[in-house]
Amino acid sequence: MSALWQNIFRLRQNKTDEIDDILLKIPIFQDLRPRDLNIIKRILHTREYKSNENIFNEGDVGLGMYIIVKGKVRIVYSTDCQVLAELGEGDFFGELSLLDESPRSAAAIASSQCVLMCFFKPELLDLLERNPKLGNKLLFKLAWTIGERLKSTNEQLKTLGGSVRQDEINS
């Protein structure tokens, strides 16, 4: 009988550890104490998507970010069906929507059967109100992540600008 309980708890422990590992890889949740991580896990929504199911459409009001726990997701421009990126386990997308309610700039579609965890703006605002220390920590990390993305975009633009100039010289 005790073996049965041990197995059940081990299963649960494994699943929790797996989610902890995924969350700790996300820059926004990095360096969080186990206690804080438990608070975060309690406010995340877990959703399951079938293959080819729309997670959100381009133009939808964005409310927050999605973290891929299992499966693959592709980010697509709806107008020309151009695939911008294919994301896998441990990746995240839509984090800008935590700060504003502007429409989603691209659609997200499940490439395979997926399990996603969702972290939304109402929960972040609620957290800021009742646990300002942890809320501010997340906001700081969010700002850092967006800053990193901006730097990377600048680098890409610089490279693109350089290659355009090279093309002009060549022609």
Binding site: H45, I55, E129
Partner: protein, 345 residues
């Protein structure tokens, strides 16, 4: 057509289920009323629980602390304010004894006939009208308030529901959101967020506004010299929860009681002046500060919505009609935008 049939059937089933749920709620109006009142109270108290949580308390401890503070407050009110309340009630009862009230009304009627005879005012029969009004009020009180059994049930059940809504409100919300299909999940969450902002801010603002206006009315009536300043102030504060109609009801009661107290208009003029000043102060300073401008509606729509709410659901309907109308506006706006997006995609 073949592809559309399942979704059409699903939609019809959904609407049927929703209609059944609404019909069921209409069959149990007392329970719905209890839950709505409890939800309102938990909305008002929620920021307090959040504040205690931000000081390091767990949600359960924060909720228990608020309840203990509330019980203490009730005990203090019982010890200090109940004697004043009872004294005023007794005094009001005496002041409105048939003989004294009859004299005051006769004096008032003669003053009115004397001064307004040029517009054709001759026989007003104020005493008869007042008596019929009082008897209707008595009937209303008997049917709504004096039902001791339901009052006791409400007094036990409401705090019980408030406690669990405050403690586990987030879990209830998460459970509700978890059953929403993936396609509508984010929209549902967005609408819940908007509902929370609209209704929550409006109710909390109105509640604080009602307390301030009630205290100001008490103070002003005490200065004017009205005997029942505490009772009228309390009524004015509570009535002030309903926009436009509430302040008028409070002022109306104060004017009527001041006329009955003195039998003349002199004090009534001061009372009207005091209420006008309070209303101006409320509109200029209190409302902009405490009532969030989350309900973006013009005054005519607000008036109509309150009238409809009052007609359908009584006082509770009048109180809730404005934030709910604001929420419905957001739902329609978002649904249309959502629909247009799906058409274009």
């Amino acid at each position: 057509m073949k592809d559309k049939t399942p979704s059409l059937v699903r939609m019809i089933l959904f609407f049927l289920a929703a209609a059944c749920a609404v019909a069921f709620l209409f069959l149990i109006p007392e329970v719905v009323k209890l839950v709505v009142i409890a939800a309102l109270l938990s909305y008002i108290l929620d920021p307090l629980a959040n504040l205690l949580e931000s000081r390091g308390m767990s949600r359960t401890k924060a909720t228990v602390t608020i309840f203990l503070a509330f019980v203490t407050l009730l005990a203090v009110a019982y010890i200090f304010l109940l004697p004043l309340f009872l004294e005023e009630m007794k005094s009001l009862e005496k002041g409105l004894s048939p003989e004294q009230a009859g004299v005051a009304i006769a004096r008032l009627e003669s003053t009115l006939v004397e001064n307004l005879s040029f517009v054709g005012v001759k026989n007003l029969d104020l005493a008869g009208r007042l008596q019929s009004m009082m008897s209707h009020t008595g009937e209303w009180l008997l049917s709504h308030v004096v039902d001791a059994a339901s009052l006791l049930t409400s007094m036990i059940l409401i705090p019980f529901i408030v406690f669990f809504l405050m403690k586990d409100g987030r879990e209830f919300k998460r459970s509700f959101v978890s059953i929403v299909p993936n396609r509508y999940f984010e929209v549902a969450l967005y609408l819940l967020y908007k509902l929370n902002v609209q209704v929550g801010n409006f109710l909390r603002g109105q509640f604080i506004d009602a307390i301030i206006v009630g205290l100001l009315a008490m103070f002003a009536l005490w200065i004017v010299g009205i005997k029942y300043f505490f009772l009228i102030g309390l009524f004015t504060g509570l009535a002030n929860l309903i926009p436009y109609f509430g302040p008028l009801a409070g002022a109306g009661l104060a004017v009527v009681l001041s006329i009955l107290q003195t039998g003349g208009f002199e004090m009534a003029v001061y009372v009207m002046l005091a209420f006008t000043l309070i209303k101006l102060f409320d509109d200029a300073f209190i409302q902009p500060l405490v009532v969030a401008r989350s309900v973006d509606m013009n005054p005519l729509s607000v008036l109509l919505v309150i009238l409809i709410g009052g007609k359908l659901f009584g006082i509770l309907g009048m109180l809730l009609s404005v934030p709910i109308a604001g929420f419905i506006k957001v739902v329609i706006h978002e649904t249309l935008a959502h629909y247009q997006r799906y058409r274009t995609v």
